[in-house]
Subunit: 225 residues, 2 copies
């Protein structure tokens, strides 16, 4: 979140999601483009250590598929969504991650890592700097997330607003919900229950419906149907 | 351009580019998602009529490939770059447009239509709302354009700046130039000469080089090598 230390606001939520027992989570740094995997790992690990956990990056493992299959938790950080999807696909990690998470291993993703949890990367904000094999990704939830959702529009800018972009998405993808997730908010899915965490509302888009603003006390399970 | 009537600022440049003789240009509206092709055609045609020319949209032709091959000029408007690339590819128009333009037919594109002129769509700002066959497009020029280039960054936004995004692009695409084209500016290629039109500078990015700000009196032909 802008104006705060990296990954600071969600750390207590990550702590309670991972539980009391100290966990060494598998970290996937593939979205990082202009920082090294080592640097990225350190940045994330420093924060995880503050909450009694740690991460080890997948680039240290000789066999990344095996690393996924043995992971206690899987953590995917932000960066470029296209590069992340491409590396996950090139390394044949999509299926292993899906089966691991569906069997109960905790998954944590932010920014590009939250885009990965969706059926496709079609609601990313990132520039398509590389071409992945496919736009299909983990499909852990049946709706799309638009992370860093913002209402502001830079002055003097002739391009589309974020809402314009999502309206184009729902025009061509009429059967799927999009959750515009504002800074400082999270979605948590646990025990068949989906919740919003954070003090700001999120904005829900669906074709032929007016956008809806929902807050943390609202029911979000309609998104799972 | 924000704060001005649609397609107003470039109209005199379009007029001089197309010449004295009234032309009926072929208009490709495929980037339009939330407006109909008819509406889009009218919007563009109204402006072209002000300068003694006109457009006819490709959706009125039974055979779109033949429409391209017979066109006096080809005009591609803005909207969503991914949808535009997908429709051009689905309709098998990439090769016909390339051969037509390389044999001397004028090409005019703005926003998503300028992304089409590049080797790939990898420097678009648009959301990847649909998955095209490929990111490769017309390759009429050997460099990438980033249209609507902007320096501002919305307050409270934790995502990347435009410059961050392009820096990620050049990190993974080290042999190609990117031209950040600010609102109200154009690139014109005619008689083997590339020029910037407009009162603002454009920002040139290349791997391992500091970004350069060039203005209309500078030489741009290094981009063609």
């Amino acid at each position: 979140m802008a104006g705060e230390a990296y990954l600071d606001y969600p750390k207590e939520n990550i702590k309670s999601f991972l539980g009391e027992h100290p966990i060494e989570a598998l970290f996937i740094p593939y979205a990082g483009v202009t920082l090294s995997y080592d640097t990225y790992e350190t940045k994330v690990n420093d924060r995880f250590k503050e909450i009694g956990h740690s991460v080890k990056s997948i680039h240290h493992f000789e066999n990344p598929i095996e690393a996924v299959l043995k992971a206690e938790a899987i953590v995917i950080g932000g960066g470029n969504t296209f590069e992340l999807a491409k590396q996950l696909q090139n390394n044949k990690l999509i299926e292993p991650i899906v089966s691991k998470v569906k069997s109960g291993t905790p998954y944590i993703g932010w920014s590009a890592g939250s885009n990965m949890a969706c059926p496709t990367i079609r609601t990313t904000n990132d520039m398509p700097i590389v071409e992945p094999e496919s736009f299909n990704v983990l499909n852990l939830v049946p709706f799309q997330i638009n992370p860093h959702y913002l209402d502001a529009h830079p002055e003097g800018h002739g391009g589309e607003t974020r809402e314009d972009r999502i309206n184009e998405f729902i025009e061509l993808n009429q059967n799927i919900y999009v959750v515009g997730l504002r800074e400082g908010c999270m979605l948590k899915f646990e025990n068949e229950n989906l919740k919003l965490i954070g003090e700001r509302k999120c904005r829900i888009f669906k074709y032929n419906n007016s956008p809806k603003e929902l807050s943390k006390n609202d029911d979000f399970n309609f998104l799972l149907k």
